[in-house]
Protein backbone atom coordinates (compact mmCIF):
# COMPACT_ATOMS: atom_id res chain seq x y z
CA UNK A 1 0.00 0.00 0.00
CA UNK A 2 1.23 3.49 -0.78
CA UNK A 3 2.67 5.53 2.00
CA UNK A 4 1.59 8.65 0.14
CA UNK A 5 -1.56 9.89 -1.53
CA UNK A 6 0.00 9.11 -4.91
CA UNK A 7 -1.12 6.41 -7.32
CA UNK A 8 -0.56 5.30 -10.89
CA UNK A 9 -3.13 7.80 -12.10
CA UNK A 10 -1.53 10.75 -10.34
CA UNK A 11 1.91 9.77 -11.51
CA UNK A 12 0.71 9.70 -15.12
CA UNK A 13 -0.97 13.08 -14.73
CA UNK A 14 2.11 14.49 -13.03
CA UNK A 15 4.43 13.37 -15.82
CA UNK A 16 2.11 14.84 -18.43
CA UNK A 17 2.01 18.17 -16.59
CA UNK A 18 5.78 18.34 -16.21
CA UNK A 19 6.52 17.43 -19.82
CA UNK A 20 3.73 19.60 -21.11
CA UNK A 21 4.96 22.59 -19.14
CA UNK A 22 8.48 22.06 -20.47
CA UNK A 23 7.07 22.22 -23.98
CA UNK A 24 4.57 25.00 -23.41
CA UNK A 25 7.00 27.45 -21.82
CA UNK A 26 9.13 28.07 -24.91
CA UNK A 27 5.97 28.16 -27.00
CA UNK A 28 4.40 30.78 -24.76
CA UNK A 29 7.51 32.87 -24.18
CA UNK A 30 9.38 32.66 -27.47
CA UNK A 31 7.88 30.79 -30.42
CA UNK A 32 4.50 32.54 -30.53
CA UNK A 33 4.29 36.01 -31.99
CA UNK A 34 3.64 39.31 -30.24
CA UNK A 35 0.37 41.20 -30.27
CA UNK A 36 -0.20 44.18 -32.55
CA UNK A 37 -1.00 46.63 -29.75
CA UNK A 38 0.13 44.93 -26.55
CA UNK A 39 3.42 43.52 -27.74
CA UNK A 40 4.86 40.81 -25.52
CA UNK A 41 2.42 41.57 -22.72
CA UNK A 42 -0.12 39.36 -24.46
CA UNK A 43 1.92 36.33 -23.35
CA UNK A 44 0.05 36.51 -20.06
CA UNK A 45 -2.92 35.09 -21.89
CA UNK A 46 -1.38 31.62 -21.70
CA UNK A 47 -1.42 31.81 -17.90
CA UNK A 48 -4.28 34.12 -16.99
CA UNK A 49 -7.06 32.60 -19.05
CA UNK A 50 -6.34 28.93 -18.17
CA UNK A 51 -6.10 29.95 -14.50
CA UNK A 52 -9.49 31.65 -14.77
CA UNK A 53 -10.97 28.57 -16.41
CA UNK A 54 -9.68 26.28 -13.65
CA UNK A 55 -10.91 28.72 -11.02
CA UNK A 56 -14.43 28.48 -12.45
CA UNK A 57 -14.02 24.70 -12.64
CA UNK A 58 -13.27 24.73 -8.91
CA UNK A 59 -16.30 26.89 -8.15
CA UNK A 60 -18.47 24.52 -10.14
CA UNK A 61 -17.03 21.52 -8.26
CA UNK A 62 -17.77 23.22 -4.93
CA UNK A 63 -21.32 23.86 -6.12
CA UNK A 64 -21.94 20.25 -7.21
CA UNK A 65 -20.26 18.90 -4.06
CA UNK A 66 -22.46 21.11 -1.91
CA UNK A 67 -25.64 20.02 -3.68
CA UNK A 68 -24.74 16.33 -3.37
CA UNK A 69 -23.94 16.60 0.34
CA UNK A 70 -27.21 18.37 1.07
CA UNK A 71 -29.27 15.98 -1.02
CA UNK A 72 -27.62 12.65 -0.27
CA UNK A 73 -25.16 13.25 2.59
CA UNK A 74 -22.48 12.02 0.20
CA UNK A 75 -19.11 12.02 1.96
CA UNK A 76 -17.39 11.65 -1.41
CA UNK A 77 -18.87 14.89 -2.74
CA UNK A 78 -18.24 16.73 0.51
CA UNK A 79 -14.56 15.82 0.12
CA UNK A 80 -14.68 17.06 -3.48
CA UNK A 81 -16.09 20.40 -2.31
CA UNK A 82 -13.43 20.68 0.38
CA UNK A 83 -10.61 20.02 -2.06
CA UNK A 84 -12.07 22.27 -4.75
CA UNK A 85 -12.47 25.34 -2.56
CA UNK A 86 -8.94 25.17 -1.19
CA UNK A 87 -7.41 24.70 -4.62
CA UNK A 88 -9.82 27.25 -6.07
CA UNK A 89 -8.42 29.94 -3.77
CA UNK A 90 -4.94 29.42 -5.17
CA UNK A 91 -6.09 29.57 -8.78
CA UNK A 92 -8.18 32.65 -8.04
CA UNK A 93 -5.12 34.37 -6.56
CA UNK A 94 -3.20 33.40 -9.69
CA UNK A 95 -5.87 35.04 -11.84
CA UNK A 96 -5.61 38.23 -9.79
CA UNK A 97 -1.80 38.34 -9.80
CA UNK A 98 -1.38 37.58 -13.51
CA UNK A 99 -4.24 39.95 -14.30
CA UNK A 100 -2.63 42.74 -12.29
CA UNK A 101 0.77 42.23 -13.95
CA UNK A 102 -0.84 42.08 -17.38
CA UNK A 103 -2.97 45.13 -16.59
CA UNK A 104 0.06 47.09 -15.49
CA UNK A 105 1.62 46.58 -18.91
CA UNK A 106 -1.55 47.36 -20.85
CA UNK A 107 -3.45 49.88 -18.68
CA UNK A 108 -0.52 51.35 -16.79
CA UNK A 109 -2.05 50.43 -13.41
CA UNK A 110 -2.20 47.17 -11.48
CA UNK A 111 -5.93 47.45 -10.92
CA UNK A 112 -8.93 48.57 -12.91
CA UNK A 113 -12.46 48.19 -11.67
CA UNK A 114 -13.56 45.98 -14.54
CA UNK A 115 -16.16 43.26 -14.12
CA UNK A 116 -13.94 40.24 -14.41
CA UNK A 117 -11.18 41.27 -12.02
CA UNK A 118 -13.59 42.68 -9.45
CA UNK A 119 -15.83 39.62 -9.48
CA UNK A 120 -12.71 37.43 -9.24
CA UNK A 121 -11.60 39.39 -6.16
CA UNK A 122 -14.99 38.86 -4.52
CA UNK A 123 -14.94 35.18 -5.44
CA UNK A 124 -11.43 34.79 -3.96
CA UNK A 125 -12.63 36.15 -0.63
CA UNK A 126 -15.71 33.91 -0.66
CA UNK A 127 -13.64 30.82 -1.47
CA UNK A 128 -11.21 31.70 1.31
CA UNK A 129 -14.22 32.16 3.59
CA UNK A 130 -15.44 28.71 2.60
CA UNK A 131 -12.08 27.21 3.61
CA UNK A 132 -12.08 29.22 6.85
CA UNK A 133 -15.63 28.11 7.72
CA UNK A 134 -14.65 24.47 7.32
CA UNK A 135 -11.57 24.92 9.45
CA UNK A 136 -13.57 26.72 12.14
CA UNK A 137 -16.21 23.98 12.51
CA UNK A 138 -15.03 21.15 14.76
CA UNK A 139 -17.94 18.76 14.11
CA UNK A 140 -17.48 16.73 10.92
CA UNK A 141 -21.08 16.68 9.72
CA UNK A 142 -21.73 20.26 10.83
CA UNK A 143 -18.69 21.31 8.84
CA UNK A 144 -20.05 19.66 5.71
CA UNK A 145 -23.55 21.14 6.09
CA UNK A 146 -22.51 24.71 6.88
CA UNK A 147 -19.97 24.88 4.08
CA UNK A 148 -22.43 23.24 1.69
CA UNK A 149 -24.99 26.01 2.14
CA UNK A 150 -22.22 28.57 1.63
CA UNK A 151 -21.03 26.61 -1.39
CA UNK A 152 -24.46 26.92 -2.98
CA UNK A 153 -24.21 30.69 -2.80
CA UNK A 154 -20.78 30.90 -4.49
CA UNK A 155 -21.79 30.29 -8.10
CA UNK A 156 -24.86 32.56 -8.27
CA UNK A 157 -22.94 35.24 -6.41
CA UNK A 158 -20.06 35.10 -8.86
CA UNK A 159 -22.48 35.54 -11.74
CA UNK A 160 -24.41 38.40 -10.14
CA UNK A 161 -21.31 40.30 -9.07
CA UNK A 162 -19.89 39.95 -12.58
CA UNK A 163 -22.99 41.43 -14.21
CA UNK A 164 -23.41 44.10 -11.55
CA UNK A 165 -19.89 45.39 -12.01
CA UNK A 166 -20.18 45.13 -15.79
CA UNK A 167 -23.27 47.30 -15.65
CA UNK A 168 -21.64 49.66 -13.17
CA UNK A 169 -18.54 50.00 -15.33
CA UNK A 170 -20.76 50.68 -18.32
CA UNK A 171 -21.32 54.08 -16.82
CA UNK A 172 -17.60 54.68 -17.14
CA UNK A 173 -15.01 53.65 -19.64
CA UNK A 174 -14.91 49.92 -20.21
CA UNK A 175 -11.50 48.38 -19.56
CA UNK A 176 -10.82 44.89 -20.78
CA UNK A 177 -7.91 42.52 -20.78
CA UNK A 178 -7.53 40.61 -23.96
CA UNK A 179 -5.59 40.36 -27.14
CA UNK A 180 -6.27 43.00 -29.70
CA UNK A 181 -5.36 42.85 -33.33
CA UNK A 182 -7.08 41.44 -36.36
CA UNK A 183 -6.90 37.73 -35.71
CA UNK A 184 -5.24 35.31 -33.36
CA UNK A 185 -2.45 33.32 -34.98
CA UNK A 186 -2.63 29.55 -35.38
CA UNK A 187 0.26 28.89 -33.03
CA UNK A 188 -1.11 31.33 -30.47
CA UNK A 189 -4.44 29.52 -30.50
CA UNK A 190 -2.76 26.14 -30.18
CA UNK A 191 -0.51 27.30 -27.33
CA UNK A 192 -3.49 28.81 -25.55
CA UNK A 193 -5.46 25.58 -25.78
CA UNK A 194 -2.44 23.46 -24.86
CA UNK A 195 -1.83 25.60 -21.76
CA UNK A 196 -5.46 25.18 -20.80
CA UNK A 197 -5.16 21.38 -21.06
CA UNK A 198 -1.98 21.35 -18.95
CA UNK A 199 -3.47 23.58 -16.31
CA UNK A 200 -6.64 21.50 -16.14
CA UNK A 201 -4.56 18.34 -15.71
CA UNK A 202 -2.57 20.07 -12.97
CA UNK A 203 -5.89 20.93 -11.34
CA UNK A 204 -6.99 17.30 -11.55
CA UNK A 205 -3.69 16.17 -10.01
CA UNK A 206 -4.05 18.65 -7.16
CA UNK A 207 -7.70 17.69 -6.66
CA UNK A 208 -6.93 13.97 -6.47
CA UNK A 209 -4.20 14.42 -3.89
CA UNK A 210 -6.19 16.96 -1.86
CA UNK A 211 -9.29 14.74 -1.95
CA UNK A 212 -7.25 11.88 -0.50
CA UNK A 213 -5.74 14.16 2.13
CA UNK A 214 -9.23 15.31 3.12
CA UNK A 215 -10.43 11.75 3.29
CA UNK A 216 -7.50 10.70 5.51
CA UNK A 217 -8.13 13.67 7.81
CA UNK A 218 -11.79 12.74 8.01
CA UNK A 219 -10.91 9.13 8.89
CA UNK A 220 -8.76 10.46 11.72
CA UNK A 221 -11.53 12.80 12.91
CA UNK A 222 -14.16 10.09 12.90
CA UNK A 223 -11.73 7.43 14.08
CA UNK A 224 -10.69 9.76 16.86
CA UNK A 225 -14.22 9.81 18.22
CA UNK A 226 -14.47 6.01 18.17
CA UNK A 227 -11.11 5.73 19.95
CA UNK A 228 -12.21 8.23 22.57
CA UNK A 229 -15.43 6.30 23.20
CA UNK A 230 -13.53 3.02 23.57
CA UNK A 231 -11.13 4.65 26.01
CA UNK A 232 -13.97 5.99 28.12
CA UNK A 233 -15.58 2.57 28.28
CA UNK A 234 -12.29 0.97 29.33
CA UNK A 235 -11.92 3.60 32.02
CA UNK A 236 -15.42 2.96 33.28
CA UNK A 237 -14.69 -0.78 33.48
CA UNK A 238 -11.48 -0.11 35.44
CA UNK A 239 -13.35 2.14 37.88
CA UNK A 240 -15.96 -0.58 38.44
CA UNK A 241 -13.31 -3.25 39.03
CA UNK A 242 -11.53 -0.89 41.47
CA UNK A 243 -14.73 -0.40 43.42
CA UNK A 244 -15.34 -4.14 43.67
CA UNK A 245 -11.75 -4.72 44.83
CA UNK A 246 -12.08 -2.04 47.49
CA UNK A 247 -15.32 -3.55 48.71
CA UNK A 248 -13.60 -6.94 48.95
CA UNK A 249 -10.75 -5.42 50.97
CA UNK A 250 -13.22 -3.74 53.34
CA UNK A 251 -15.01 -7.00 53.95
CA UNK A 252 -11.78 -8.82 54.63
CA UNK A 253 -10.80 -6.15 57.19
CA UNK A 254 -14.08 -6.16 59.13
CA UNK A 255 -14.71 -8.56 62.08
CA UNK A 256 -16.59 -11.83 61.68
CA UNK A 257 -20.15 -11.25 60.54
CA UNK A 258 -23.25 -13.05 61.79
CA UNK A 259 -24.48 -13.94 58.37
CA UNK A 260 -22.40 -14.61 55.27
CA UNK A 261 -22.71 -11.90 52.69
CA UNK A 262 -23.45 -13.09 49.22
CA UNK A 263 -21.80 -11.12 46.58
CA UNK A 264 -22.20 -11.85 42.91
CA UNK A 265 -19.83 -10.75 40.24
CA UNK A 266 -20.98 -7.77 38.17
CA UNK A 267 -22.90 -8.88 35.16
CA UNK A 268 -22.02 -7.99 31.66
CA UNK A 269 -18.68 -6.59 30.69
CA UNK A 270 -17.42 -3.99 28.28
Amino acid sequence: MDSTTGSKATRLMGIFVLLGTALALPMALAWTGRDVTQGDAVRFIYLHVPAAWTMYLSVFAVFIGSVMWLRRRSVFWDMVAEAASEIGVVFALLVLVTGALWGNLTWGTYWEWDARMTSTAVLTILLAGHVALRQATPDVDGRATRSAWLGLALLPNAIIVHYAVDWWRGLHQEATIGPTGAEIQDLQLFTWMFSAVIMTTAWAWLMTHRFRVGFLARQLDVGGVSTALAERRAEADRTWVDQVDRADDLDAATPVQATPVHRSAPEGGA
Partner: protein, 50 residues
Protein backbone atom coordinates in the same frame (compact mmCIF):
# COMPACT_ATOMS: atom_id res chain seq x y z
CA UNK B 1 11.24 40.10 -25.31
CA UNK B 2 9.80 43.40 -24.13
CA UNK B 3 8.92 43.66 -20.44
CA UNK B 4 10.79 40.40 -19.88
CA UNK B 5 11.19 41.03 -16.15
CA UNK B 6 7.48 41.44 -15.50
CA UNK B 7 6.45 38.55 -17.72
CA UNK B 8 8.98 36.16 -16.25
CA UNK B 9 8.03 37.28 -12.74
CA UNK B 10 4.40 36.49 -13.49
CA UNK B 11 5.24 33.07 -14.87
CA UNK B 12 7.56 32.41 -11.94
CA UNK B 13 4.91 33.29 -9.38
CA UNK B 14 2.27 31.20 -11.15
CA UNK B 15 4.31 28.06 -11.65
CA UNK B 16 6.11 28.42 -8.34
CA UNK B 17 2.86 28.92 -6.48
CA UNK B 18 1.29 25.82 -8.00
CA UNK B 19 4.41 23.76 -7.31
CA UNK B 20 4.40 24.93 -3.70
CA UNK B 21 0.72 24.03 -3.30
CA UNK B 22 1.38 20.58 -4.76
CA UNK B 23 4.33 19.97 -2.48
CA UNK B 24 2.33 21.02 0.57
CA UNK B 25 -0.57 18.74 -0.25
CA UNK B 26 1.69 15.74 -0.93
CA UNK B 27 3.63 16.37 2.28
CA UNK B 28 0.40 16.54 4.28
CA UNK B 29 -0.74 13.35 2.59
CA UNK B 30 2.44 11.56 3.65
CA UNK B 31 2.08 12.50 7.30
CA UNK B 32 -1.63 11.62 7.42
CA UNK B 33 -1.08 8.27 5.68
CA UNK B 34 1.22 7.24 8.52
CA UNK B 35 -1.51 7.89 11.09
CA UNK B 36 -4.43 6.13 9.42
CA UNK B 37 -4.42 2.31 9.57
CA UNK B 38 -4.07 0.41 6.33
CA UNK B 39 -7.32 -0.58 4.76
CA UNK B 40 -8.87 2.72 5.72
CA UNK B 41 -6.72 5.03 3.67
CA UNK B 42 -8.55 5.21 0.38
CA UNK B 43 -12.18 6.03 -0.22
CA UNK B 44 -12.47 2.89 -2.36
CA UNK B 45 -11.30 0.69 0.53
CA UNK B 46 -13.93 1.91 2.98
CA UNK B 47 -17.70 1.78 2.77
CA UNK B 48 -19.01 5.19 1.84
CA UNK B 49 -21.52 6.12 4.53
CA UNK B 50 -23.90 7.49 1.90
Amino acid sequence: MEHAAQILTGYGIALGGLALLGARIVQRGRSLTKQVPEGQRRWMDVDDDD
